[in-house]
């Protein structure tokens, strides 16, 4: 039998046809990896079933709820909030120049020259003029920034520092028109004599800033973590010396990080009226965070598929809050620590407020009241895949503009009357048993 390929002239055309058919077949197959129908023939061909059903339950699942103030931690403010919000909030910014040299390098003198005279001195600060949702912008009325000598044996205690903001300790002040603030760099005058005194005696200069305004306003000053304040003075007509922020306290060598943080920080002269004890709260200044731990029914979380988890909170009106009528964003963050960590303050500090990673958000107006809902399904579903010992079934509520927006929102806690307590509504699909048709 002749096994040679024996095509005639018409055969190549057939071959091409076959190749085309083959390609068509391949294309057809690649196009049909999935089969999807819109189900127009349902329910006629798809009788109702009891196999797949959504169930709904509301549980009083909050086992621990508490709020802790103090965020950001002192020294870690970025930016620094200098507020004059009338009856609601008054904050002061502290700058530490703990190392002003006795000498300076003069361009025409080979050796360093002792400071014996100061022509002028200023503190340069940079404002954060960016727009942040829900945060007041730059003042619309002229504001005055006053500088005080707040050097004191006390380190960071507001109660010790606030009495130092007196006329006798005033180092300088300057009034700024609203449009001049938009330039974002401010030069604040400092009494030359004070700088000369520190230079001659080799002592530290600690300056407290106070904002004075006829209206409720606030400024955000870029902190040392980015572009800290700088002291600049002229010991000679043709020479200027700049001094960077530096803190020499605390002196404990194990607290070097804190020492660095305290180059600039914020103290609160007048804080926000705290909410009632049977509430949990977020925001304010220093900001509060709320810790919520849940005791969830395991037959739902572990054995079923939760399709919706709604945390229902009843808002308590905080009419005395700064920006009480502006909306405030509240975000839930997962606690990733295991049950070995029991210190709630520490658990709260372990959370980094990054609104992009938040599971959901809730916008409230601090002065409002009523029921608010926060969706937590993604968080609850993560818990299904982890053991409670490794990942606490807990979350932290915080505002997105923590440390920048002093507004505070409060909700009734689990100590409140039952109808006002936080509760969790779970919608879930029980384990589906798929079987024969």
């Amino acid at each position: 039998m002749n096994r040679r390929f024996d095509f005639r002239s018409s055969v190549p055309a057939i071959s091409r046809l076959l190749i085309a058919l083959g390609l068509f077949g391949v294309a057809a197959l690649s196009a049909c990896g999935e089969k999807l129908e819109a189900g127009a023939a349902c329910p006629l061909l798809c009788p109702a079933t009891k196999d797949v059903n959504l169930k709904d339950t509301t549980v009083d699942a909050v086992s621990i709820d508490t709020s802790v103030a103090g965020f950001p931690t002192i020294g870690e403010e970025a930016p620094l909030l200098l507020a004059a919000r009338g009856d609601t909030l008054d904050t002061r910014v502290i700058f530490r120049f703990d190392s002003i040299g006795k000498t300076y390098p003069h361009p025409t003198v080979p050796a360093d020259t002792f400071v014996t005279h100061v022509d002028s001195a200023t503190v340069r600060v940079v404002l954060d003029t960016s727009t942040v949702t829900g945060v007041p912008g730059l003042p619309t009325q002229p504001v005055t920034i006053e500088l005080y000598d707040v050097d004191s044996p006390a380190d960071t205690v507001a109660a010790d520092l606030l009495p130092l903001f007196t006329a006798s300790r005033l180092l300088g002040s300057k009034t700024f028109a609203p449009e001049s603030l938009a330039k974002d760099t401010l030069f604040l005058p400092v009494a030359p004599a004070a700088v000369l005194d520190r230079a001659i005696h080799g002592t530290r200069l600690r300056i407290g800033l106070r904002l004075v305004s006829p209206t409720s306003t606030q400024l955000r000053i870029v902190s040392s973590a980015t572009a800290g304040a700088v002291l600049r003075f002229k010991p000679a007509a043709d020479t200027a010396v700049t001094v960077a922020l530096r803190s020499m306290t605390p002196t404990d060598s194990s607290l070097v990080t804190l020492q660095g943080d305290l180059r600039d920080y914020v103290i609160t002269a007048k804080g926000i009226t705290p909410p009632p004890p049977n509430t949990i709260s977020v925001g304010g200044y220093p900001a509060r965070r709320t810790f919520l731990r849940f005791d969830l029914p395991s037959h739902i979380v572990d054995s079923s598929t939760v399709v919706r988890a709604t945390l229902t909170l009843t808002q308590y009106p905080m009419r005395a809050s700064p920006s009480a009528l502006d909306s405030l964003g509240i975000y839930p963050f997962a606690v990733t620590a295991g049950t070995v960590v029991t210190d709630i303050s520490r658990l709260l500090r372990l959370v980094t407020v990054n609104t992009l990673s938040a599971a959901d958000s809730l916008r409230v107006v601090p002065a409002d009241s009523g029921t608010r809902k926060l969706e937590l399904v993604n968080l609850v579903r993560i818990w299904r895949n982890t053991k409670p010992e490794l990942t606490q079934r807990a979350l932290v509520l915080a505002i997105g503009e923590e440390g920048v927006n002093p507004a505070i929102a409060a909700f009734f806690a689990s100590e409140a009357p039952i109808d006002l307590r936080p509760r969790l509504q779970l919608t879930y699909v029980p384990k589906v048993t798929l079987g024969l048709p």
Binding site: V11, F24, A41, N53, L54, D56, P297
Partner: protein
């Protein structure tokens, strides 16, 4: 933790309207344990299935193996484009199938052996239903998905013996196995507030059967064929759990073919499949029914291409599908017409068959189904 309230209530009430039986699907052909592809080759499909009893590549009659002539490896691919119509609404779907593979080895002039695998019931489909779900005071759009991916396959080892020119006998041993991943899920439009749901499980099937066939040949005139498959147990399991046991359907088929024209066959065939033996595995409303499968067709030698004729095929087929549809358990009737061609290339080393098949399926319940199937078969003779 204290439970304040529990309700299947609004949520369930809203979804049950569109809930879906995992045993049902939104088409006629894939009810129950699935769609019977027929276990016939592309070339036999081109003749409506009428020549299947004579076709050594089809997994119907083991006695036909002796017609193979030379060692052959054959497989086919078979995408189906389906349209389901209910009233003014239509759904379109595409299903990929690989329904048949066979290897046939002739040994001497009288014996031939084969190993073949063919889909007995194909259960691959997905249905999506859009609906709104009410969660208390909230309504969210949602899509409910349910489906199945898998099949029950039939692996046959066959042998044929031709003691003389007038008689051919065949035997086959069948191993029935299969896996079927069934799944269900619901997706929500608001992904931040709602978590999608999905669940699946895999069903397993195993069983056995034997088959036998006979062909009476009047050389140059006609061939009469008959085949019979006797089913054994068919077990269904889910993971390690036995779900039930049934019998592999018995099948009895006959055909009569005229072979008076050189290289051509004109045939009629009918067979009865005892699908009802699968009812022990039915848990839903759809029931298996015994079904006739009747066809007429021709496989004609056309013009020659090279050393080999171009085969032209045409046929019609009428059958009842194994599973009923709808609330009244109505039988699904299928009527199909097919045409195709086949040729040998590479000096007879490559078999190529192409068949286009159009099927209409109807159960008289207001739902109809149209399907175009492209069947492409490739065979190699090493």
């Amino acid at each position: 933790m204290r439970k304040l309230s529990t309700a299947g209530l609004l949520v369930a009430a809203a979804t049950v309207l569109h809930g879906a039986s995992l045993g049902a699907q939104a088409n006629l052909s894939g009810q129950g344990l699935g769609f019977p592809t027929g276990q016939i080759s592309t070339r036999a499909e081109g003749a409506g299935g009428a020549t299947a009893e004579l076709d050594p590549l089809s997994m119907v009659n083991p006695a036909a193996l002796g017609f193979i002539g030379a060692t052959t490896l054959f497989f086919q691919i078979e995408p189906e484009y389906r349209r389901v119509t209910i009233g003014s609404r239509t759904d379109n779907t595409t299903t990929a199938r690989y329904p048949l593979f066979t290897a046939v080895l002739p040994v001497g002039p009288k014996w031939a052996f084969s190993v073949s695998s063919a889909t007995l019931l194909d259960r691959t489909w997905t249905t999506s239903v859009d609906s709104n779900v009410v969660f208390g005071s909230d309504t969210v759009s949602s899509t409910f998905n349910f489906g199945s991916s898998g099949s029950i396959n039939d692996l046959r080892i066959g042998a044929s013996w031709a003691p003389n020119t007038y008689l051919r006998l065949g035997l086959g041993g069948h191993l029935i196995s299969g896996s079927d991943r069934v799944f269900v899920g619901r997706t929500f439009a608001q992904s931040s507030a709602f978590g999608n749901f999905a669940d699946s499980t895999t069903l397993g099937f195993d069983g056995g059967a034997v088959s036998a066939g006979i062909q009476l040949v009047a050389p140059g005139l006609a061939i009469a064929s008959a085949s019979f498959r006797k089913g054994g147990n068919l077990n269904a399991t889910r993971n390690d759990t036995a779900l039930g046991s049934a019998r592999v359907p018995d099948r009895l088929g006959f055909s009569l073919a005229y072979i008076g024209a050189a290289g051509s066959q004109i045939a009629a065939r009918t067979s009865l499949d005892k699908w009802s033996s699968l009812n022990a595995l039915s848990q839903g409303t759809s029931q298996a029914v015994d079904a006739w499968d009747t066809s007429v067709g021709a496989d004609l030698a056309g013009p020659r291409l090279g050393s080999w004729p171009l085969m032209l095929r045409i046929g019609g087929r009428w059958r009842t599908l194994p599973y009923t549809a709808g609330p009244g358990n109505d039988k699904v009737k299928e009527q199909s017409f097919s045409g195709g061609l086949g040729m040998m290339l590479g000096g007879g080393r490559v078999l190529t068959d192409v068949t286009v098949l159009h099927a209409r399926r109807d159960a008289g319940i207001g739902v109809s189904e149209r399907a175009w199937t492209l069947s492409i078969g490739f065979g190699i003779r090493p």
